[in-house]
Symmetry: C2
Subunit: 225 residues, 2 copies
């Protein structure tokens, strides 16, 4: 087994059987002292956060699979806070689905929208490119630059909306409100599907108007360990 990717909140290893192993870390992203899953920089560690991401990914992937939405997930890994997944060719995109205006959306369009304004499950694509601040990209530009096909775009938009409705419903049953969520998609055996993780690092969730930390989200969704 060898490491093939060192991420901000996750490391990825290639196993001898051809699957990959994802290990969730305790690192958190944010700006300055403020933890924010929408941010791009690692600002520290929070004990138990890797475990939260691991457990939430299991829960949310299960939810998607039950609804017939495929992911690259294969099973729980042998080491702590690890999952086994099929190897994927990542599109290097973030597919963001927004229920309410927050974060970068308000920074971009503050002339037209206020934080918390409802949005109709709006889907946006951004490139995973830290150096350029994960720039927004239009569907036409994705096709023009040969990053993904029109068919893959349609699948990603539809699937992101379907998955978001499921996850928002699951959270709502627990008195939680999904603000926004990002997915990564890739190609597995020639088929486009959700890859990577779906955890507190992927979403902003509010409880009584306050955005939860990832560990708080895990507790609220999974119950105290």
């Amino acid at each position: 087994m060898r490491e093939i990717y060192t991420g901000k909140t996750k490391d990825v290893f290639l196993r001898d059987d051809g699957y990959v192993l994802l290990r969730f870390k305790d690192t958190v992203t944010g700006v300055g002292d403020t933890v924010d899953s929408g941010a791009n920089e690692v600002i520290g560690e929070v004990a138990g956060k890797g475990r939260s991401s691991f457990n939430l990914t299991l829960r949310f992937f299960e939810l998607l699979h039950e609804a017939g939405i495929p992911t690259h997930f294969v099973g729980i890994g042998p080491d702590v806070n690890t999952i086994i997944a099929k190897r994927a060719r990542s599109f290097r995109l973030e597919v963001v689905c927004r229920a309410k205006a927050w974060g970068s959306f308000v920074r971009r369009y503050g002339n037209h929208v206020r934080e918390g304004d409802p949005l109709p499950s709006l889907v946006e694509f951004t490139l995973k490119d830290d150096e350029r601040g994960d720039p927004l990209i239009t569907e036409d530009a994705l096709v023009a630059l040969d990053i993904v096909s029109r068919e893959a775009i349609d699948y990603m938009k539809g699937t992101a909306r379907q998955a978001t409705a499921l996850i928002a419903g699951h959270l709502s049953q627990r008195g939680l409100e999904l603000i926004d969520i990002k997915y990564e998609f890739g190609e597995v055996d020639g088929r486009t599907m959700i890859i990577d993780e779906v955890s507190g690092d992927s979403m902003r969730v509010a409880c009584q108007g306050r955005i939860l930390l990832q560990t708080e989200l895990a507790e609220a969704v999974l119950g105290r360990a």
Copy 2:
């Protein structure tokens, strides 16, 4: 007659007859010492530049009208470098049509594209918002934020491509190459159409690989005065 808008390169007055008067100024936009019609800041004045913009707008609006593409243009104004136009409700958007990758497009997507790479008349929408650096916005977000309707978006995309093909052809006959061009659209008497101007301030044009200044473009298109 009273001034209703002081622009970077143009002032707009409301006439007593209800039409507006657009006066083209000698101011140029750019970054640092470099004139760039794609930039957002006024960096100085170039003698004759207002006249160039005025004459080029006349030429290009004529070209559009001959092809049946409506604009808000009514006629030449009584003062130097002025045109009379119908009053419009501007959508406060820039509709950019790109024949080749340049400027902000390369800054955003430099991981996937190099300056000068061909693009298939790619249309992008940006908000006119200096404070936020004219942010890119998706078609879905334009509709979600109630900025324009889906029908207006389809009209703007189609019209921008049609106008760009005409203008690129006109330039090509003179040995010039259109790199990119931006249009402003608005509503005039309930109908969506091209408004504002179409001049050197609206486009990047290359001759033998070098981007022309607006006065050079006017000379190349209109002949020496």
